[in-house]
Amino acid sequence: MSKEAVIVPEALLKVVDLCKNFGGLRVNADVNFDLFSGECLALIGPNGAGKTTLIHQLSGFFTPDSGTVIFDGRDITHLPVHARARLGLARSFQITSIIPSLSALENVALAVQARTNGSLRLFGIAADEKTLNDQAFEALQMVGFDKQITTIADNLSHGEKRILELAIAIAMKPKALLLDEPMAGIGKHESLRLIEILKSLKSRYPLLLVEHDMEAVFALADRVAVLVYGKIIATGTPDEVRQNAEVKAAYLGESAM
């Protein structure tokens, strides 16, 4: 396929004037932001601000009513989910999304398999493929997965499942990671561990982090974008955003900013 016009070379992921309505409800209104290589951009905002809807449009589960999503110089606004993943845009889900009956290793091996040649080969025993398993093992090690790798995913604790999902995402060797509330439902102790894991990933992958946990956001983010009622009301460094009056107003009583 011929190279398409590179529109803004410096931004890896560029969101332009994105709008989404459900019925009469305006969920995203003229959302604009860029994710640059090597940075962690945190997307914060009160409940119902439209954060997950936004992630769904970036990863292809929803199609925006108007606006454009450009990834790696390519307009991906209307590409299906799987095609975006193939281009290197990986995501995690707010509600853990794994394959419950497969082992932890096989869950990750599926992600490795997806980016190899013959990803849908009809013969050979997939579970025995050393190259797939080795790379899956490596990804599990990177996130510090410390359970038996043959454990059936359904038998893992909630926190372990969240870590497994991170391993799945990085096993895709993505160009960018979209993380939808990786800390959701996790206890204090485990969340500190998860922050450490995410810090180690930050240097390797550009991250778009949607998160409620402000401790995590300020520990990880290089820049923060604030989404309120479907609109981005402020973007800047964590300190700038913390000082922003509009943000303070929107968050008053919501969270200890």
Binding site: L105, G124, F137, I168
Partner: protein, 330 residues
């Protein structure tokens, strides 16, 4: 994390040796049927087991999409009908050579599966069930209206399938071993597919379609591939059906027949190595036993099915798998 990833985790293919042995045992017993049938009511037993073998082949194909892929296809018998009618019509028209019929059956089954599959698989759940039902019924009515080829009454073939001039298809024992050969090949093929990279994606998509597409797999393509393969195998079962029974009727593709195939798969515990094989034989033998007992066997079998579904939380499949000791359970 202390184990290097050389030992494969618990999947369908774990316990390989045990279930492998069971498959071989089943095939050995089947292979001996013609030998022992000679001492009994030869024609009847041989015919019964041969019919069961052909149905088992179709049911194994259905298990690929239903048990492993999670697609409740209620039109699977339509493919048997396609294979059966093509064979019957070609023999009637004087083209009885298997080497000509067979490729045509494969091509037509593929095309029908592709066209209906693209439409069915864009939907999901209950739409999928109803649309496959409707397409199956479409062929049923079409065959019923084919007055040249028997219409409602079905078509008895005068003449038989030959292969390179040999009449082996017309011989009761010959067609028995040909059918058995296809059954063994079919089971091997389905098991290979299920364990392969493709099969792993198919199984995973049954559990979590969202995750699989988010990994970069085109789920529709994976399912369509499985649907076509299952259709072709069932088409081949239809080819064998006509060769063996020397008769075909529209009832072959009636939706109730598709329902019977689903029962066989559910009876066997869905998505296991030997389950469907056992389920198909258990079903045919159970029906035979019940209908020997009373011609109104459906009065007994119907409520039995309802009770089996009601009695176990996971449904009839898990109920029977439990009765069997759950040994082959994935």
């Amino acid at each position: 994390m202390n184990v290097a990833p050389d030992k494969k985790p618990g999947t369908v293919i774990s316990n390989l040796s045990d279930s492998y042995r069971l498959s071989i045992l089943i095939f050995l017993i089947l292979a001996l049927v013609p030998v022992f049938a000679r001492y009994g009511a030869e024609g009847f037993i041989l015919d019964l087991v041969n019919r069961a073998i052909i149905l088992a082949l179709a049911a194994i194909a259905l298990d690929l999409i239903l048990g492993f892929g999670g697609m409740v296809s209620f039109g699977h018998a339509a493919f048997i009908g396609i294979g059966a009618y093509i064979t019957a019509i070609m023999v009637t028209e004087g083209f009885g050579e298997a080497l000509i019929i067979f490729p045509i059956v494969v091509v037509v089954s593929t095309l029908f599966a592709l066209i209906t599959g693209i439409i069915c698989l864009r939907t999901s759940g209950v739409y999928f069930i109803m649309i496959t039902l409707a397409f199956g019924q479409m062929l049923f009515f079409a065959a019923s209206s084919l007055s040249t080829y028997g219409g409602d009454d079905g078509l008895t073939i005068w003449g038989n399938v030959t292969i390179l001039g040999s009449d082996i298809f017309a011989d009761d024992v010959g067609i028995f071993y040909i059918s058995l050969g296809f059954l063994i090949a079919g089971l091997f093929l389905v098991q290979t597919l299920v364990g392969s990279r493709f099969g792993r994606v198919l199984r995973a998509a049954k559990e979590n379609e969202t995750r699989i597409s988010a990994l970069g797999y085109n789920v529709l393509r994976v399912r369509l591939t499985a649907y076509v393969i299952a259709g072709v195998i069932a088409g081949i079962a239809g080819f064998l059906h006509t060769s063996q029974a020397e008769f075909v009727s529209p009832a072959t593709m009636r939706w109730q027949h598709s329902g019977e195939l689903i029962i066989m798969v559910a009876l066997g515990g869905m998505g296991t190595r030997n389950g469907t094989l056992i389920g198909a034989f258990a079903y045919v033998l159970l029906i035979q036993a019940l209908s020997d007992f009373t011609q109104d066997w459906k009065l007994i079998f119907g409520p039995l099915m309802v009770l089996a579904v009601l009695s176990k939380n996971g449904g009839i499949g898990r109920f029977f798998a439990y009765v069997k000791g759950g040994r082959n359970r994935a």
